[in-house]
Symmetry: C2
Subunit: 315 residues, 2 copies
């Protein structure tokens, strides 16, 4: 089968062996996959990953338990042991011996087929087409903010960054009732939010105020410092950016203003799938490019262009 | 009167004018003052402070409202406007136009007299002597951890640092019921905690585990990174260290493990005073040196010696 693999220096499409069905898993034929900024960090060296990239997908179960055969599915990316104390607490996404699809010791979804543990599968409702379903994983990551922080109706929130994740987080916060201001660099991306009546401002026109919740979705190492500067005393910063580089931070404002910084990663799929089903979150406007898996290497480069939103790959 | 003043380059004791009584304040004759690590950071340039240093004290009201005259008092250090929205929320310690005793635009307690707003005063119970009362401010800062984080009985906590604040935080956490391990460099300091049945370990023998709450009381810029490394997924780091320098941090573990970092500064005086009254927290063992205010300049240097605990100044 074809797959986009990374060998530590180059990401390229090649023919690899179709995987056998793994234990307790389903073999999923990928129908659509999405490129995430984490993929771009991985090819810069983050996590020292080797193998098939990709962790956003929708597909159809081709092999596995009979009740799953033919089901259209999306899948959670953390493959947990299900037996350690952390898993028993319900924190499977943090299992210390987890593998992570396309990120850590598990092949990913930029391929014709991918193995996904049964425990990680979610059926896609009929009314949710592939173009929407492929957003289940990043939308779940946006909902994670609500799992970690009690966002109050009418709370003043700032989202730094108008990339893919920023646009999803902004909509999730708005849906929770919050007052949201999104600070970005790309008028065409901000326009997507303006159409949903979410307030936006171009970065160069913005003066950091003192919001009670600031989400850093810039994807840049400098995001934390900017977010802290925009947060009120005793306020909260949610840090969504994972980068391969160290960053220099002045921690004194964090201490003096008693700010809380919450690292945030993967989130719960069920609310994401429900939001896709009701159409309450606009994901389709985020599709900026689609191409064949054969051109995945170019697509990965394109996904790194400033302002680029979701790039989709069709195996 | 004599006072230890800092002019931006040198901290020295000299004769300065005795202050007039300020509006809405009491003029307090200082009977004992304590040196804090923040004083040492201030003379390194932190906050660009100029004036009389010192923010830990106990004293007697010599001038002010009749009902306060002759009262033995301690005082909160954040002089708030009491009229802005932040003050009206009860967050006076975060008032954006606050002055801070001996730290920001207000003269401090390393002097024979200091002005303290009436709103900041607390009467010292008769049974609490000056040697204990002078710890009210740093002990309040230790109690701040319990204001910010829900510490559960039996929670596994690690305190990094066996300096003054580390020893107070460890005792406060233990008093809240937590399982506490203190990691330090100074056997004689750790021994103070061992006498209170608090578990301790020398840093060189310690392997970071995965505690659910880690308090960084190292006072060093590297404390955050070490604390994050010792915290379990979804765990909490309380950051107590304020330093004048920037620090380089790898934020990826914070995001991947979804760790929460809470900056922590000044705390509530009433629980601190109650603890001093009942004797539930050992503060007297933390007194490592006392000297006349005349020798304050030397005392400040001595307070910076490794392992040195509380240095007290007698005006």
């Amino acid at each position: 089968m074809r797959a986009l693999t990374f060998d530590g220096s180059i990401a390229k499409v090649s023919d690899v062996a179709k995987p056998d069905l793994a234990p307790d898993s389903a073999l999923v034929r990928v129908t659509l996959a999405g490129v995430c900024n984490t993929d771009l960090e991985l090819v810069k060296g983050y996590m020292a990953f080797r193998g098939t990239l990709g962790h956003e997908f929708v597909g159809v179960v081709e092999d596995g338990p009979p009740e799953w055969l033919g089901q259209r599915v999306v899948g959670e990316i953390n493959f947990a042991c299900q037996s350690c104390p952390i898993c028993h607490e319900g924190l499977q996404r943090h299992c210390p011996s987890r593998r992570v699809m396309g990120i850590l010791e598990a092949d990913g979804s930029f391929a014709e087929y991918v193995n996904v543990p049964i425990a990680n599968l979610h059926t896609v409702p009929e009314s949710v087409d592939d173009d929407s379903a492929v957003f289940a994983e990043p939308l779940a990551a946006a909902f994670e903010v609500l799992e970690q922080v009690h966002v109050m109706p009418n709370q003043d929130c700032v989202v730094l960054g108008d990339g893919k994740l920023g646009l999803l987080v902004a909509q999730v916060l708005r849906q929770a009732g919050a007052q949201v201001l999104v600070v970005g660099h790309h008028p065409e991306n901000l326009e997507i939010l303006a159409r949903r009546d979410i307030e936006t401002i171009e970065d160069s026109n913005w003066t950091p105020g003192s919001a009670s919740l600031v989400v850093d979705a810039t994807g840049s190492a400098e995001g934390l410092q900017r977010a802290v500067a925009a947060t009120r005393p005793r306020g909260t910063v949610v840090l969504k950016s994972t980068t391969a580089t160290k960053t220099s931070v002045d921690l004194s404002q964090l201490v003096v203003d008693e700010i809380r910084v919450v690292g945030s990663r993967c989130g719960p799929f069920p609310p994401a799938i429900r939001a896709l089903e009701t159409g309450s979150i606009d994901v389709r406007s985020l599709i900026s490019h689609r191409c064949s898996l054969n051109d995945a290497s170019d697509a990965l480069e394109r996904a790194g262009d400033p302002g680029q939103l979701k790039v989709l790959l069709e195996p």
